[in-house]
């Protein structure tokens, strides 16, 4: 790759940072209004109390907890996928990873908001944190809700570093091309990065370790979210399959979110030269595999319940198959399996448009899946006298819509500040593979200094 090609990459990928079209402002204002409407709804709920939401006995977990599980699931798009692709050294990952990692950080932030919204008294949010009360009583570490705190904060910390560490060389690139206040800001973000051989090695070593560490953390996060349900003796929750079922669903919805984000970025930021149809095809194959896995888990879970024929579980089972929640259940099956399967399995249909359509239905289907895990079980508990029904209220619907707008808004603003394709990784991907033999590496090691 010659200097002209390198500068072309710099110009293309830094264009969104340096140039602002009027569409950017239109989109920001539009999304901002929706987010403000969501914040207004939240304030309304704070003022009048949780009575304005549809949650009432026996269904105390509904839209907010659905959104919590859904967004934590979406967060698996980024860091987990990026880490796996980095570890297996998939060369096609380079334009994809940062788009994915951004989703993780923002989806986690949005997801983590929901337990606070669900509290009703959000100013007491610090009660969620594990610290001793004035009587020196600590929270119960045997509670899955405390596990959530540890898992989500570890994943958020790791994902934030996983996103920002490889962005440091790109911040340095922007620093060198700007003046005035912008130069100062990007100079601070670049942390004094030069690009010495030592810095590159340390960065790549650190990213390798982070990739190894983040995969089990990501899996643990959604497993622990599933434990919020599986540890409770509620019909169709108390199941050993919930951990892997939730993780599979999270990766499934995460890949779908990533495909949607990439398609929008490709179109809006004119990244056709970097996000190729092959990226969508490869992610489409992963999505197909996850669709099959999701179908397998759903079938296995339902079959086991049906075969067991426990009266309390069958009440929940039938409410989703033929009862009040059946329309939602069968819509979910269509969205997650029936529609995506042919679109992703038939090679001719696995185009950018095909993967985008499949991803859109999967996002809707996975939100429904989360809802159907939570609400029907609470509405049909063990004893019939505690049965009930849930209907969402406008406050919950508005807050839910606002979170989607918040995700889009945060993504849009981030794309204005940071190139959404890692520039140095893209350039490094164009190099021929290293040809140094092991014995030569040992000689080199001996030649160049000592460990530090």
């Amino acid at each position: 790759m010659n200097l002209e090609e390198k500068n072309k990459i710099n110009d293309d990928l830094l264009r969104p940072v340096f140039q602002t079209s009027r569409w950017f402002y239109v989109i920001v204002v539009l999304l901002g209004v929706i987010v403000l409407a969501g914040l207004g709804s939240w304030l309304y709920q704070m003022w009048f109390g949780l009575v304005v939401a549809g949650i009432k006995w026996p269904v105390y977990w509904a839209f907010y907890v659905t959104n919590f599980v859904f967004w934590i699931g979406i967060s698996h798009a980024g860091t987990l996928i990026s880490a796996i692709l980095r570890l297996v050294n998939a060369t096609w990952r380079r334009p994809v990873t940062r788009c994915a990692e951004v989703i993780t950080v923002f989806a986690l932030m949005i997801g983590a908001m929901f337990p606070i919204i669900h509290l009703g008294r959000p100013w007491l949010f610090f009660w969620l944190m594990p610290y001793p009360s004035e009587r020196q009583i600590w929270p119960n570490f045997r509670s899955p809700l405390v596990w959530d705190f540890f898992a989500i904060s570890t994943y958020l910390t790791g994902s934030t570093f996983f996103l920002l560490l490889p962005a440091i060389p790109d911040f340095a690139l922007i620093r060198d091309r700007t003046t005035g206040l912008r130069r100062k800001i990007y100079g601070a973000l670049a942390l004094g990065w030069q690009g010495t051989t030592k810095q590159w090695h340390r960065l790549e070593s650190a990213m390798q370790i982070m990739a190894i560490a983040i995969v089990p953390v990501a899996i643990s996060v959604h497993t622990i979210v599933s434990f919020d349900f599986a540890m409770a003796p509620v019909p169709m929750w108390h199941s050993t399959i919930f951990g892997p079922y939730f993780v599979a669903g999270a990766i499934f919805s995460g890949i779908a979110a990533l495909i949607l984000a990439m398609a929008v970025l490709r179109k809006v930021l004119h990244l056709e030269r970097y996000l190729h149809p092959v990226h969508f095809q490869n992610l489409g194959k992963l999505l197909l595999m996850m669709s099959l896995l999701w179908g397998y888990f759903t079938f296995a879970e339902r079959l086991t319940v049906w075969y067991g024929n426990e009266p309390s579980e069958m009440a929940v089972f039938w409410s989703t198959q033929t009862g009040a929640y059946a329309p939602l259940f069968w819509t979910m099956v269509f969205c997650n399996f029936v529609i995506p399967f042919p679109l992703l399995a038939i090679r001719r249909l696995r185009t950018i448009a095909g993967t985008v359509i499949a991803s859109s239905t999967i996002i809707a289907g996975m939100w429904l899946e989360r809802f159907l895990i939570i609400v029907p079980s609470l509405a049909n508990k063990n004893l019939p006298y505690s049965w009930g029904f849930y209907r969402p209220r406008p406050v919950e619907i508005m807050i839910t819509i606002a979170t989607f707008a918040a995700m889009a808004l945060l993504y849009t603003l981030f794309s204005k500040a940071v190139p959404l394709i890692s520039i140095w990784e893209l350039k490094a991907g164009a190099h021929p593979r290293p040809v140094l033999k092991p014995q030569m590496e040992e000689e080199v090691e001996g030649l160049w200094g000592t460990r530090s």
């Binding site: 390198k6 060198d176 030069q194 010495t196 810095q199 070593s205 650190a206 160049w448 530090s452």
Partner: protein, 172 residues
Amino acid sequence: MRALYALYSDPDTAQRAVDSLRRAGVADRQITVISSEPFEEYEFSHRDKPTWIFWIAASGGALGLVLGYLLASGTQRAWPLSTGGMPIVAMWPNIIIMFELTMLGAILATVSSLFMTTKLPTTKSRLYDTEVSNGRILVGIEEPREDSVEKLERTLREVEPRMTRITRIESV
């Protein structure tokens, strides 16, 4: 700090410049190579490759593991509440806390060791040229001997006579 550096347009030439400097008697620790991307396939990029960062990360993880155990079991013993028939120090659920803190310890240790070994963040001026961002590769000598500057400048120029830009810095 005094320095002398040249900017090259491709890694092959940068490698030749590094080799020439070595032949001219410059010690490896005095040679600095700066680029806007890593060049794994070149020998010059293998400088400083050995690192303790993996062991530091493992130590951070071990520390997190111990802290996780102490936090969970210590607080359970401090106020022994019986919950659901579980023992006071219940290892099964405590493993979750220990696992998360192990990974957090490894992640924080990795990030800290990255910053410490690369001496980041810094506000100090270091050898650098903004042309590096445009894809050029900087090969420089830090603190060259006064009487060898002319010779080193010639050495750097001879590698790529037409394209090389040589810069002397008296103090950075």
